[in-house]
Amino acid sequence: MPEVTFVESLRMTLREEMQRDPSLMLIGEDIGRYGGIFGVTKGLLEEFGPYRVRSTPISESAIIGSALGAAMTGIRTVAEIMYIDFTPCAMDQIVNQVAKMRYMSGGKVKIPLVIRTQEGGGRGNAAQHSQSLEALFFHIPGLKMVVPSTPYDARGLLKSAIRDDNPVIFIEHKLLYATKGSIPDGEYLIPFGQADVKREGKDVTILSFSYMVLKALKAAQHLAGEGIEAEVIDLRTLVPLDLETILRSVRKTNRVLIVHEGCRRGGIGAEIACCIQEEAFDYLDAPIERIGALNVPIPYSEPLENAVIPKEEDIIRGVKKLLYQT
């Protein structure tokens, strides 16, 4: 199985899907000759031409709105918003239009639209270029949400996202782009709503997604050295959420830690904790532990940013708190 980077995995997937579906169009800023700010669309303009790889001015609202219009009228579209921090510039389009159009029309229209974006901090990009905003979209009915953490998952999930006739927000992480992983030859799709147990364990369940999965795995490795076996589950899709896999693990370990990079207050962790608590109250031996970013904007300076974004040590500490709770 060849090893590819996260970026290469996305790029080859887009190329394959564009070859497979002659209507598939990409739209976004600097995605043409420049190849996208992280190189995801490199070479695609040259291969598919300017009608299918449309580089736009800085106009997030118009990018999403026009992508919606195209998708509603027969053109399967993948729109790119360069940073998730810019999705608020197109929030009306995403939340009031894309998410609601099908429902409001009584199910008349299908919207084969993928909104690709990337999130996360850790590079000193400061408050308006480092956010993790998945909780905002999680709260709005009508949007599926995908958050892969490996090149393998990115490829399989992007294919499913593109072939889905519903709006999908596909959230990458800026620190994942250079990471490598193996992918099989040949085509495969990963269905939505299937979490992946990235590491089995019996003592505690760690639920996570996106870049945090890598930190969770490192934490789990460290904990194994201390005789604690943590089960790390990569949620992969937030909407739909694979509650079955989560609950199966909870019934096994009886202790749960949820970790994400978005702010802790009102983050995804709160909803997942509630679902677990509602469905498996009697299986819990300790309160569910939630770890998220501190409830402040992401600061620039390194020690401040490190203090705000959850680290491996925070996960280790959280697990120990769960285990030593009476």
Binding site: P57, I58, G124, A127, P303
Partner: protein
């Protein structure tokens, strides 16, 4: 007397332009040594716009700035030491390390902050204009944005609102011809950004943004309009960035720009042109130039030393400054 004032002003402007360029070059060097995190967006080549505009402003006039804003901060009177400290994430920086390169603010100096969202500063400028109008002072607001912002909804809403209420806002487009890799000619269907002023019933002018005296003259006119209650103006300043969009731009922006174009604009370098004219007019001499260069070099070195010697903020500061 006027001539003496002019000479003094021009020498100050020249020194400021040199300071901006040196600051940016130093910042790039520090970035390459991993002392600055994230990315920086150097404004090398755009010094005439910053200095030409800000030289007209008073301290109490407001300024809204962009992610490519170091030059504007310096021209508005920022302390280089505190700027450098902010870039290096130290607690002595303007924003105590919380903002970084893209978010330097100096409220005491009228700098209401730099925005990382393209077009984010325009509505804020309108609000500051309302504030001035309601208080009845003769302050003005200088609102900087790039050519990329003119296609954002905020541009249109803001120009319209400033126009209908005759707010004292000068909208300054630092038109360096590229929004990251998108050339302006592919992003607008009109020939000049200043044509859009017509749609809002305000004066608009496209000018040579690399001629600091031209920028100064136009800005002076716009500021007089604004101070006398005649409303906003749009200045479309044609300029060019000699560096890439940001420090992560492969090939320093040469993957989407041609060597010929770059060379042509180097020929129009604002510092080179101003220097030549000052020499021609006898305002600058080799001796004076040397003095200026030494002062600039010293001030940059001092700023770097101050920043390197400054402490990083305490991690616990991360949860401060959220609410008043």
């Amino acid at each position: 007397m006027t001539e003496l004032i002019d000479q003094t002003l021009y020498l100050k402007m020249y020194e400021q332009m040199l300071t901006i360029r040196s600051f940016e070059e130093k910042a790039i060097e520090l970035f390459e040594h991993n002392l600055i995190r994230g990315n920086i967006h150097p404004c090398i080549g755009q010094e005439a716009v910053s200095v030409g505009v800000c030289s007209v402003l008073r301290k109490e006039d407001y300024m809204l700035n962009t992610h490519r804003g170091h030059g504007n901060c310096i021209a508005k009177g920022a302390d280089l030491k505190r700027m450098m400290a902010e870039l290096l994430g130290r607690s002595t920086g303007y924003c105590k390390g919380k903002g970084g390169s893209m978010h330097i603010a100096d409220f005491e100096g009228g700098n209401l902050g730099a925005n990382g969202i393209v077009g984010g500063g325009l509505p804020i400028a309108v609000g500051a204009g309302i504030s001035i109008q309601n208080r009845g002072t003769d302050q003005v607001v200088a609102c900087f944005f790039g050519d990329g912002a003119v296609n954002q909804g905020t541009f249109h809403e803001s120009l319209n609102l400033a126009a209908i209420w005759k707010l004292p806002v000068i909208f300054i487009c630092e038109n360096n011809q590229y929004a990251l890799s998108t050339p302006i000619r592919e992003a607008i269907s009109i020939s000049k950004i200043s044509d859009r002023a017509l749609a809002y019933g305000i004066p608009g002018v496209t000018l040579d943004g690399n001629d600091v005296r031209a920028v100064y003259t136009q800005m002076k006119g716009a500021v007089e309009r604004a101070r006398s209650g005649k409303g906003p103006t749009l200045l479309d300043c044609l300029t060019y960035r000699f560096y890439g969009h940001f420090t992560g731009d492969p090939g320093r922006g040469m993957t989407y720009r041609s060597k010929e174009e770059m060379e042509e604009w180097w020929g129009r370098c604002p510092i080179k042109r101003f220097r030549e004219s000052l020499f021609r007019e006898g305002i600058l001499s080799e001796g004076k130039e040397k003095e200026i260069q030494i002062r600039v070099k010293t001030s940059i070195e001092e700023a770097v030393r101050f920043a390197l010697e400054s402490p990083f903020p305490d991690p616990e500061e991360a949860i401060q400054d959220l609410f008043y």
